[in-house]
């Protein structure tokens, strides 16, 4: 994985010094709260309902054991001994003191980490495929391109005060595991006619209150023009994106209002101009970055068998491992969704254990999935049983990947100052309900996602089943959505009808699940059945 050189380290160290100075000026009264707010936000520091929250960047979700251990230690020293992995492949701490924030940044900088641009109206942490470098179906490892974009976007002087936040995802596979087309810019690394690599650009996707699927605006950008083309996309947005209404300020609205064709025309014009400006990095830089992402030394002679004698282990293998390009390895997913738990939370001890397991069994590499789980990308099949035993012992062996218990939930009204309703208790009740009845296993793949407000941090639009918490005359109310998908068959869920109470929504999810169990045909997933039979049978069961 990528390691800092002296330049990267100096940039992060300078940022720590800058933020320490900004905090001091705030404390001295030289900065008003209004002036300080965007500065702290660009360092990932939010003021939430009960305390400051600090969001730490995990670029493209990749980290090593030392970094994961440091995250655990920070949870111990500065928070309440746990942290929350997010849908942006980041981690956030919920109980931070402002005056300690510079010290946390300093602790992060020691392990080549930071909180740069994890919030604010700027380019955010760049996400990617959590199986990058391990999956058999990718055309290349997408992370070198994400790293190049990380450097380009860090402290970009022209794009630090965009109309609104800006999110990238970079993948390199026809199978989309990163919700690529639901980003402001989604990049798919593809092969051109002559077999050379290039980038397909999708611009103007997003969730939030106006969900949109990004249109393709350029099917092939040569890699030696990647940064220049990206800069053209951003400049058109910075100049013409709406600033009169924060709810219409995302690039998806600009692309929608101009039309993809006109937006593309403007980008191409800006691109032609920027090509004359010499802003592209030298090609050697991409090669330098790529050298950090070469395959680890796989053991070609490791046994290609898994002993499935233990039935619980066999279930976990079926649920929580993913095929690896190396036949005698797999990628193993650590579920942070224990039955009745808080989705994405991990304790300091669990983080340190995961660090140790990553070092011992996965070439010192871990990944964060946007579904709020952790991946050990390169595990020898021969090591799986031992690994599983250690996970089970630490409460990390839940076999529910992509099942109804593997819920994405935003922090909701338990933490978030924007939320209208709680998300976590709803997730806990659903998880408990389906675990107790055993139906979770029978349902197979069923992605359930919960947001506590219309901003959609819990990706409810993209859930096979989505839940949106709203405020209805002072009472929490939950709308049910069906039919969303964040995968390569991207679709947006549709609301079933009137909302439900907190307990009512748990019943409603079970009712919808029962319709599927009754109607499904030969191996269909919930989503397939919904797409075949439509909304009516579900409505009938829910409201009939």
């Amino acid at each position: 994985m990528y390691l800092y050189d002296q330049y990267d380290q100096a940039m992060v160290d300078a940022r720590v010094a800058e933020f320490r100075d900004q905090c001091q000026r705030r404390i001295d009264g030289k900065l008003s709260e209004d002036q300080f707010k965007p500065l702290r936000l660009m360092n990932g520091l939010y003021l939430q309902l009960h305390a400051y929250m600090l969001r730490v960047a995990i670029p493209y979700g990749t980290l090593n054991g030392r970094q994961m251990r440091a995250l655990g230690d920070i949870a111990d020293t500065f928070d309440r001994k746990y942290g929350h992995f997010t849908t942006r492949q980041n981690i956030q701490y919920n109980w931070i003191k402002l005056e300690e924030a510079p010290d946390i940044l300093e602790a992060l900088a020691k392990v080549e980490m930071h909180a740069i641009q994890t919030s604010g109206n700027c380019i955010r942490n760049i996400s990617s495929d959590h199986f990058a470098g391990a999956a058999a179906d990718e055309v290349a490892d997408p992370r070198p391109y994400a790293e190049l974009l990380r450097q380009w976007s860090s402290f970009h002087p022209e794009f630090s005060y965009l109309p609104r936040k800006f999110k990238f995802a970079v993948i390199a596979s026809e199978t989309d595991r990163a919700a690529m087309r639901l980003h402001d810019i989604g990049i798919n690394i593809v092969r051109g006619d002559a077999g050379e690599l290039g980038a397909a650009f999708y611009v103007g996707g997003g969730m939030g209150r106006t969900p949109m699927i990004a249109p393709l605006i350029r099917d092939f950008v040569p890699l030696d023009q990647l940064i220049t083309y990206t800069e053209a996309c951003l400049r058109v947005y910075n100049r013409y994106g709406r600033r009169d209404n924060k709810y219409k300020a995302r690039i998806k609205i600009l692309v929608h209002e101009l039309g993809a064709q006109e937006y593309t025309r403007q980008v191409e014009e800006e691109f032609a101009h920027l090509l004359t400006q010499g802003i592209e990095p030298p090609r050697a830089e991409l090669e330098r970055i790529k050298s950090y992402f070469v395959d680890p030394a796989f053991d070609a002679n490791a046994p290609d068998v898994i002993d499935r004698t233990d039935p619980d282990f066999a279930v976990w293998v079926d649920r929580n491992t993913h095929p690896h390009k190396q036949h005698n390895y797999v990628s193993a997913v650590i579920s942070l969704k224990p039955v009745g738990g808080i989705p994405g939370d991990a304790t300091a001890d669990q983080m340190r254990l995961m660090a140790e397991l990553g070092e011992a069994y996965s070439f010192d590499e871990l990944r964060v999935i946007h579904t709020q789980n952790i991946v050990l990308p390169h595990v020898r099949k021969a090591d799986l049983f031992t690994l599983w035993q250690k996970l089970v012992e630490a409460g990390l062996g839940t076999p529910n990947l992509d099942q109804i218990g593997d819920i994405i939930a935003c922090p909701g009204l338990d933490y978030c100052s924007l939320a209208n309703a709680r998300s976590i208790p709803v997730a806990q009740k659903i998880s408990e309900r389906f675990a107790a009845s055993g139906k979770g296993e029978a349902l197979g793949e069923l992605k359930l996602k919960i947001s506590g407000c219309i901003n959609a941090c819990g990706h409810h639009h993209a859930g096979h089943i989505g839940i949106l918490g709203v405020d209805k005359k002072g009472v929490e109310n939950y709308q049910l959505l069906l039919g969303g998908s964040e995968a390569e068959d991207t679709s947006l869920g549709k609301i079933t009808g009137p909302g439900f109470s907190e307990d009512g929504i748990v019943d409603a999810v079970e009712t919808a699940a029962d319709v599927y169990l009754r109607e499904r045909q030969n191996g269909e997933r919930f989503l397939d059945t919904y797409r075949r039979i439509g909304m009516e049978p579900f409505k009938e069961a829910l409201y009939g």
Partner: protein
């Protein structure tokens, strides 16, 4: 405290800047002020007779002025590019990188904070036309294609 910062040796223009509309209408003015909604490219045919372009930041959070500055510098404007309005010490470093060479903030700036702001970053990641060599070129000193 600092009321106006200027990184130029030529003499400052001594008359007020006019709006883009009135500049385009007539005028032999040599100073113009761009508001966030103006298109800086409208000025490109006239750059040779402009000595000062002010770019107004009514609020620091409106970042259109950064793009306007780069557009003008990329087109070869060599006169004074002055940031005016809600210009704060935590933004002037970025402004300088985008081509501003003068700053006229509504509220005076603390001079030691100003010095910090301009000297904070040992290097930079991007090429923005301000003459600083980006880190990726420092890493590959022989490369001409950057």
């Amino acid at each position: 405290m600092v009321d106006i910062l200027r990184f130029r040796t030529d003499e400052a223009v001594d008359h007020p800047a006019v709006t883009v509309d009135s500049f385009l209408d007539q005028s032999n003015a040599t100073a113009v002020r761009i508001e966030p909604g103006d298109d800086a490219r409208d000025l490109l045919p006239h750059l040779d007779r402009l000595r000062l372009i002010e770019i107004n930041f009514p609020t620091y959070g409106d970042g259109r002025g950064y793009s306007a500055a780069r557009v003008l510098r990329e087109a070869g404007f060599a006169g004074e590019l002055r940031a005016v309005g809600d210009v704060l010490v935590d933004q002037i470093g970025n402004m300088r990188r985008c081509g501003f060479d003068a700053f006229e903030p509504d509220q005076p700036l603390d001079s030691s904070d100003v010095e910090n702001a301009f000297n904070r970053w040992p290097d930079v990641y991007q090429a923005t036309g301000d003459g600083r060599v980006p880190i990726w070129n420092l890493r590959h000193p022989g490369s001409a294609d950057g």
